[in-house]
């Protein structure tokens, strides 16, 4: 078999690996949603590409529309970079199954890095760039300039992709590496925003213009960026693929959490909840990313006035409350799918587990309660509003989201990144409802009863839910047990082992 045939074979297997993943195969809705979102965003980009040339010409008198867009190319790359966290895996993860086969490790790494570089994802912006370029670049500079300009953008997207892969690989070593792009992007944003005049605007425009003019130095610079990215990834990820194979974790000190011993069996399930979050990369990362987002949005609300609108204040407050608990609870029992047989062979263990989840996630709500306190202190959010959301989340949103324990039957991997294959239709719908319905209720209540008494119904409902938690948890447990065979079969079928 020559290298080209081997390349095609690896490409085919890589595609099959995704298509036949037990989680993805089982989940038709996610396949549909994936395609729907793809077409939706593609249509939006095409629409923007068609309407923006005329719009920008009117807005910026005398400046060609493509110069305006080129001036924003760093922003586009920032967005492009962060979106990749949800859709792209690293080669170190994908080469693992081939390590023992008689295929050169270097060849494997070249295959996967090349595939990453030339993946369709790097051409997604073309949905915008092609119509935009046809309307804004070609009429002014001609066909070849349009092609050169488009190639320039593509090269930068590829280089950006390699930067993402590099950061992503480092993050697998330690999550703190996520600060690298935060600092790089943050630094560039400060350079663009702080001086009176954006000092990166002109260089960006000029750089992209050189592509349109066909300046070989611009292409050389683009190629150099890609080359550096490729080489850095090759070096880093080759080493990482060894780590993937010989992955070993040893906990330095297994905390006994003896303060929970007084709660008997419940204490043990609480320990399990805590360890679930601390010892599993997938769960831990999600937790800290949510925490980071909460701090970020709260800081934005505290230090700036851009989110001072009524809706945004409610949204940020709600986001703080649902971020840590509810967004994980949407997938309630899915992590437990990994060891469901063990749990099901213990008497009433699911009921105790559900109780522990309720107590643990209720305790977590103290974090947003405290985090929002500075905002109440400066008067941006009223104390009543804060307490109302606190109680409403625990007493009303939780009982709603906990219902998913009856129906969820897709196992989620604990320690492995599974991009784009998580969740099902019900979970997505519940997540959307949770993010918007409470705001509607709050606004309606405040509109009817005023800014103080308007929060009373939320508080009362929340307290009622909290006081009756044993009743509704017992009800969920009974319904779970009635559906147990369907659920256990689902958990087994979607387990990635």
């Amino acid at each position: 078999m020559n290298k080209w045939q081997l390349y095609k074979l690896l490409r085919k297997q890589d595609n099959l690996r995704n298509e036949r993943h037990p989680m993805f195969e089982k989940n038709r809705f996610m396949k549909f949603l994936g395609w729907f979102m793809f077409l939706y965003y593609a249509a939006i980009l095409i629409l923007l590409g068609v309407v923006m040339p005329a719009g920008l010409s009117g807005e910026y008198n005398g400046v060609a529309a493509f110069h305006v867009i080129d001036g924003f190319f760093l922003w586009v790359l920032f967005v492009d970079f962060w979106i990749r966290f949800t859709v792209q895996e690293t080669p170190a993860q994908t080469v693992k199954p081939y390590r023992l086969l008689p295929i050169s490790r270097k060849f494997l790494m070249h295959v996967y890095l090349t595939r990453s570089g030339f993946s369709g994802g790097n051409m997604f912006w073309w949905f915008f760039l092609v119509p935009f370029g046809l309307l804004a670049v070609m009429p002014l500079l001609g066909w070849w300039s349009f092609v050169g300009w488009l190639l320039g953008w593509w090269m930068l997207c590829i280089a950006n992709g390699f930067f993402y892969l590099f950061v992503r690989a480092l993050c697998m070593r330690h999550l703190a590496w996520v600060l690298l792009p935060v600092l790089v992007h943050g630094g560039l944003i400060l350079l663009m925003l702080l001086p009176e005049k954006n000092c990166l605007d002109m260089p960006c425009t000029e750089f992209m213009y050189q592509f349109a003019l066909g300046n070989p130095l611009a292409f050389l610079a683009g190629a150099a960026l890609i080359g550096v990215g490729y080489y850095a990834n090759f070096t880093l990820q080759s080493g990482m693929s060894y780590n993937e194979v010989a992955k070993k974790e040893e906990i330095k000190h297994a905390s006994k959490m003896s303060f929970l011993n007084r709660y008997g069996a419940m204490g043990e399930y609480l320990k399990l909840e805590i360890k679930l979050r601390l010892r599993n990369k997938q769960v831990r990362t999600g937790f800290f990313v949510m925490l980071g987002m909460m701090v970020f949005f709260s800081a934005m609300l505290y230090f700036t006035d851009i989110y001072d609108g009524t809706f945004m204040k409610s949204f940020i407050l709600l986001y703080n409350y649902v971020g840590l608990g509810t967004m994980t609870l949407v997938g309630i029992m899915c992590y437990e799918g990994n060891y469901i047989d063990g749990l099901m062979s213990r008497r009433e263990s699911i009921f105790e587990l559900l109780r522990a989840k309720f107590y643990f996630n209720s305790a977590l709500m103290l974090i947003p309660l405290v985090l929002v306190f500075p905002l109440t202190y400066i008067g941006k959010i009223s104390v009543w509003m804060n307490i109302a959301y606190f109680l409403f989340t625990i007493g009303i949103i939780y009982p709603g989201v906990f219902q998913l324990a009856v129906y969820n039957n897709n196992t989620l991997p604990l320690n492995q990144k599974l991009t784009g294959k998580q969740g099902n239709a019900t979970q997505q719908i519940v997540a959307m409802v949770v993010l918007f319905l409470p705001i509607g209720l709050e606004r309606l209540s405040v509109w009817l009863m005023g800014p103080v008494w308007g929060y009373a119904p939320m508080m009362a409902l929340g307290l009622a839910g909290i006081c009756t938690h044993k009743i509704w948890l017992r009800n969920i447990y009974k319904r779970f047990m009635n559906r147990r065979y369907v659920n256990m079969e689902g958990f087994r079928a979607s387990r990635n082992s």
Binding site: K248, E249, E250, I251, K252, H253, A254, G264, A265, G267, E268, Y269, K271, L272, K275, L276, R279, N280, N338, Y339, I340, D341, G342, M344, S345, R346, R347, E348, S349, E352, L414, N415, Y485, M488, E489, R492, R495, S497
Partner: protein, 235 residues
């Protein structure tokens, strides 16, 4: 605790996984379950543990239908595969979890755990190693020990000799025999290892396509020949 299987049927599509009309395992018996791959051993165990739904029939532990209550879980210990293990705990934590959620005092389970010291060979306790990072053999040991930890009246082990080194295989055989003698527990063990099965089981059920085709009395230890003949024939 005796176990009664009544008209138990389970199909996966066209394939019959389990089809047993009547089978009783008296209290205190060690039953060895043998059969080729796909014969239905693990499915039978899962049906007995109420982990999958039977198309027909039922399993009784004493007078309790396992699909109707959870009462039997208090006196049953089992290890079928890794989905019984919470792999982000250390073995110590897992044993403690299993014991405490069942209300067993720490001293009691720890003194019982001491019996397994030779079997665990110093590789499980006090190691600060998560279960997911253990070797297949050590994971198997964690599962077996956890299943026995609460001194169950019914013990169900699927392929307990798999992945174990020879000395551990010998150790687990002795532990099972000793446990049975001491507690009178009913023990069900499936295995592809005929020698080990014959060594510990006074009764052996041979499963083929979900049906128990032979119920072999091994009180005199002479089932080996019959089993070897069967497996040679099917080869």
């Amino acid at each position: 605790m005796n176990i009664i299987i009544e008209n138990l049927r389970k199909n996966f599509g066209e394939k019959t996984a389990v089809n047993i009309n009547q089978f009783e395992i008296p209290s205190g018996q060690i039953l060895g379950l043998v059969g080729n791959n796909g014969a239905g051993k693990s499915t039978l165990f899962r049906l007995m543990l109420d982990l999958i739904k039977a198309d027909e029939g039922r399993v009784l532990m004493g007078s309790t239908d396992v699909s109707q209550t959870e009462e039997w879980k208090s006196w049953t210990g089992a290890f079928v595969d890794e989905s019984f293990l919470i792999d982000y705990l250390t073995p110590d934590e897992y044993f403690q979890f299993v014991a405490r959620i069942s209300g067993t005092p720490d001293e009691e389970y720890q003194s019982f755990l001491a019996r397994f010291e030779h079997f665990m060979a110093g590789e499980l306790i006090g190691q600060n190693k998560l279960i997911r990072n253990l070797s297949a053999g050590n994971k198997q040991k964690v599962g077996i020990v956890a299943a026995m930890l609460l001194r169950p009246k019914v013990l169900i082990l699927d392929e307990p000799f798999n992945f174990l080194d020879p000395s551990s295989q010998s150790a687990i055989k002795n532990l099972l025999l000793e446990y049975n003698r001491e507690t009178g527990a009913t023990i069900l063990v499936s295995s592809h290892n005929l020698q080990h099965t014959v060594d510990i089981s006074p009764r052996i059920a041979l499963l083929e396509n979900g049906v128990i085709i032979r119920d072999i009395d091994n009180a005199d230890g002479k089932a080996q020949e019959e089993l070897e003949n069967y497996f040679k024939i099917t080869d």
